[in-house]
Symmetry: C2
Subunit: 240 residues, 2 copies
Amino acid sequence: MQYQSYPDTLTTEQELRQIYLFSCLNDQQLARIKQSVRQIQLEDGEYLFKQGQRTEHFFMLKEGHIKLLRLSLEGAEKVFEVILPGQTFAEAIIFLPKSIYPVSAQSINSSVLLSFENKIFIDILKESSATCFQLMSYMSQRLRMWINEIDNLTLQNATHRLVNYLLYQVPGEHSNVYEFNFSIPKHVIASRLSIKPETFSRILHRLNREGLITVKGRTVHIHNVDRLRLQTVNTDSIIE
Amino acid sequence: MQYQSYPDTLTTEQELRQIYLFSCLNDQQLARIKQSVRQIQLEDGEYLFKQGQRTEHFFMLKEGHIKLLRLSLEGAEKVFEVILPGQTFAEAIIFLPKSIYPVSAQSINSSVLLSFENKIFIDILKESSATCFQLMSYMSQRLRMWINEIDNLTLQNATHRLVNYLLYQVPGEHSNVYEFNFSIPKHVIASRLSIKPETFSRILHRLNREGLITVKGRTVHIHNVDRLRLQTVNTDSIIE
DNA sequence: ACTTTTGTTTGATCTTAATCAATGACGATT
DNA sequence: AATCGTCATTGATTAAGATCAAACAAAAGT
């Protein structure tokens, strides 16, 4: 893990301002954040933190990918989430005094992050009701996300989860063909979806055979987004 | 669903003060809450709200049990959580404007609840940084809870989940024998643990055969808590 | 270019828990 | 006490996905 002091340029301010959680801060508050910022470089496979460690920082990913995971006693790995560039993470679990990270964070490829001190951010939260509300609404969304996640795991089967994942990659406007690349290895996506790599591969194969998609390496070509959508359920917003 | 106006007695204030989220409010703020409180009576099986409905209230359960659930398209029911007396619920999802309940809430047995208006509580949150922090720390805990839930679903098997549930019923100090009653039907617990009733029954039977527990009706007798603990993993606080 | 490592696919087999079906137990109602 | 409905248990069978094993492909190191 390579720490770098953070260059004091105009771009700095702009970069911090773009972060959702900091968008309501005044100049003085932002200056305090800025002063505690450190930039971190991670190699492929390197850990940022491990489950059970004290939480003293939260992070914003600038480049690369971070997977949040847990290991079972038998050594099985479950990926809970894959962080993409632009996202902040580990900021929602800082409220229990002496709290610990509930998951480990490991770099996929090499990554660049900014790290922020919890203590300083909490002090600012005490002054900024607007920022409290931003954080609360963010936490709200995440609570909802986990509920959908459990829905997927318990009421949906492996194919549904995988199709859901594929559809999640498609921007809203497309309804016909769409092509994208997996930005991370397939076995990581598989673990994220709680599917074994072998099963993951077989499901893709079957969707191919059914004429819904074509997969070549990391490239996925969806022949008809709407038809693929028929394979799943919109898990949110069901009345009755 | 039977609405009742809320009696204006001294007990009222005390009852509201005991609610964790209201413990930091001043008299004037509590009075505003009090004015919007309604008491609700639910029959066995009656719904308090359904998934997809607009969230305008949150609740505190006084008596009975409430299950939070989702239905799959095929009609399968998944219980996400069982609310016990004293708990507040549906308060963490009110921050998205025009937000909707992510689950349905149905009464087990008959229940008595207090309902509070989101709008009024949000106004108070804007004034009370302390209450914001209470809510945020509450949401933090719940986020962690869902992560543990997914750990249980993906890294643990049905027996582990059931043993975890049994151990969760045991207050900390006991390490030898302990006896308790299931307060809700077994099939609800089964769904809560994502296990079919048949499998649930078979696992209890097996634990019995292994000399770990004795089950008679709703009564569970654990012969040796520590020995039962060996069957599982403490999912939280694992470093390395 | 060749070797090694890592990741992916394919086939055969196994395991866990679900499903299907029937019976039994219990509580509530009459 | 008899009946009904709900809930729980038990047995037989099935199915989804995991595991094991091997081949294959692609990337990385030498």
